[in-house]
Amino acid sequence: MTEPTVPEPYVAESPGREAWRMYSRNRTALFGLGLLFVILAITFYGSFFYAGDAYDIVWAPHEPPMVTPEFPLGTDYLGRDIVTGMLKGGGPTMAVGAAAALITMVIGVSLGALAGFYGGWIDTALMRFTEFFQVLPALLFAMVLVTLFSPSLWTIAFAIGVVSWPQTARLTRAEFMKIKELEYVTAARAIGAKNTRIIWKVILPNAAPPLIVSAALTIGVAILFEAGLSFLGLGDPNVMSWGLMIGANRDQLLDAWWPVTFPGLAIFLTVLAVSLVGDGLNDAFNPKLRER
């Protein structure tokens, strides 16, 4: 006699695990994640183990790449090593991108949540405010803010955050308006939950998937913003960054292509990696794609 088989109890998969299962099936998204890890690892460890200062003049100017073994990517117009610049410049670029995305999300999610949850005049007022910010060309407004309040990594991150939140606010508002009508919100209200609890503990976790995707894409946009500002010479002059390298070498670009090409490639690959991760998360969270 065999033992009667007891069916395994059904355990629902946690949303995070389910999303990861979907994500890991997506080859492009995995490539993006891998690329992102490689870039982070290279800049993080590189800036630790590569002793030189990115501002130091170490060789003759405009040494082409692959000629001298010590300077595989060549030197710039002053004779600074491009590899050192790339390694030391990656950290600040990504840190500003991440900080700016965080500020964007904090402002955008707070205002969007208030507008979407309360509706009425609060919604009208906040949306008018949002529309006003959407009228200002973002880069120009960020340029003004950075110059008025002297450039440092924090001012730059803050300026980028201040100009980029409207889209996040609109997205959050739409999600909140949709979710607040659902039954579980009514149920939470029925057991006496306060508004703040409903906003933070009930609606926000359920609105999280599109907001996480938007956060990933915001990091990409913020990195491009930082690069643009540094390229224009409006970044922190004491901190090397990829945009700054391109901007500083721009006037000599017809004499030497490499000092402007490699940092730009690094910005491109970083933003590409972040946006592939964002697209992958978007697909992973999308229930319509789940059964494929």
Partner: protein, 325 residues
């Protein structure tokens, strides 16, 4: 009905512009340091007499609301301040630079919409075909490339490898006294690289968007009806389907206009295009705030105008909206 919509839309636009003026005023006040020094801007050694003149002009010794009122009435009269470096009123400086920026931005907008929609429509016919793959790869790449870097790469390519397009400025010096037709072609020739640099990002986005939108539309009943009544494939695609698929692109194109101006700022700097972006950049380096804030004002006005035009064209393109307020 449309007229009253139009009037209300313009009134709201003016309200937004009033907001921009107030913001500019606040920015000058919020900046660290003496506002008179901020307004004087680039001048290193400002003499006391000049500062006193600025204080009197802007009423800086009066209470804040009065100052705001003085600032507002100045702007309404077209007085955006003086640029001491160029020794010209800001309004005059900007009016000389706004034309090239509009030319660049509109050309890029038209190029990206037309080419993007064309690619999207063709790709939508074979959702898994090679062109569809190309469109989505291109859109992903276009999103990730810094626009100034694309410009720089094109400058290197066309200055040293294929010298067929000029990489700097808007006119050739040797054609300064040429006839209008020669001048037109000269400007168009200079426009090619900056406009394409700016268009590439949006072109890719519109291609992806119109591909998705066309695929939606092509599955609908009226397309089957059109096919059933024997319409040619061309007429189905470009007449029946595209008209409906174009609406989302119109919306996005309107929303993107502000980003397009931001991009133009960088592109103008790369190609030395004599527009507002270049002026803003030069003025920021000289800490000339009245000019910078003037550029911000005019750029915002362009976005407001573009939004109004988008709303109107939306109503023109979608008759269902016309009756509504």
């Amino acid at each position: 009905m449309t007229a009253s919509f139009f009037i209300r839309r313009i009134a709201y636009g003016l309200l937004l512009m009033l907001g921009v003026v107030i913001l500019n005023f606040l920015l000058i006040r919020l900046a660290p340091g003496d506002p008179a020094v901020v307004i004087a801007g680039e001048m290193g050694g400002i003499d006391a007499q000049m500062l006193a003149a600025i204080r009197a002009d802007y009423g800086l010794d009066k209470p804040l609301p009065t100052q705001l009122w003085i600032y507002l009435s100045n702007v309404v009269q077209g007085n955006l301040g003086e640029s001491f470096f160029f020794n010209q009123p800001v309004a005059t400086l900007i009016s000389a630079r706004i034309g090239p920026t509009i030319l660049l931005v509109l050309t890029a907008q038209v190029l990206s919409i037309v080419i993007g929609m064309f690619l999207g429509v063709i790709a939508a016919r074979k959702p898994n075909g090679p062109l569809s793959g190309f469109v989505s790869v291109f859109a992903t790449i276009g999103y990730a490339v810094p626009v100034f870097w694309t410009g720089i790469m094109l400058v290197i390519l066309f200055a040293s490898v294929f010298p067929i397009f000029p990489v700097e400025g808007m006119r050739s010096v040797r054609l300064r006294d040429a006839g209008p037709i020669a001048q037109f072609f000269d400007v168009a020739h200079h426009l090619v690289l900056p406009a394409f640099t700016l268009a590439i990002i949006y072109l890719a986005q519109y291609a992806r968007l119109s591909r998705a939108s066309m695929m939606d539309v092509l599955g609908s009943d009226y397309i089957r009806t059109a096919r059933a009544k024997g319409a040619t494939e061309q007429s189905v695609l470009f007449k029946h389907a595209l008209r409906n698929a174009a609406l989302p692109i119109l919306t996005v194109a309107g929303l993107q206009f502000g980003n397009l101006i931001s991009g133009a700022l960088l592109v103008e700097t790369v190609f030395n295009w004599p527009g507002m972006g270049r002026l803003a950049f030069d003025s920021i380096l000289r800490r000339n705030y009245p000019t910078v804030l003037g550029v911000l004002f005019f750029a915002a006005a362009m976005v407001v105008a573009a939004n109004i035009l988008t709303d109107l064209s939306y109503r023109w393109a979608d008759p269902r909206l016309r009756g509504r307020e």
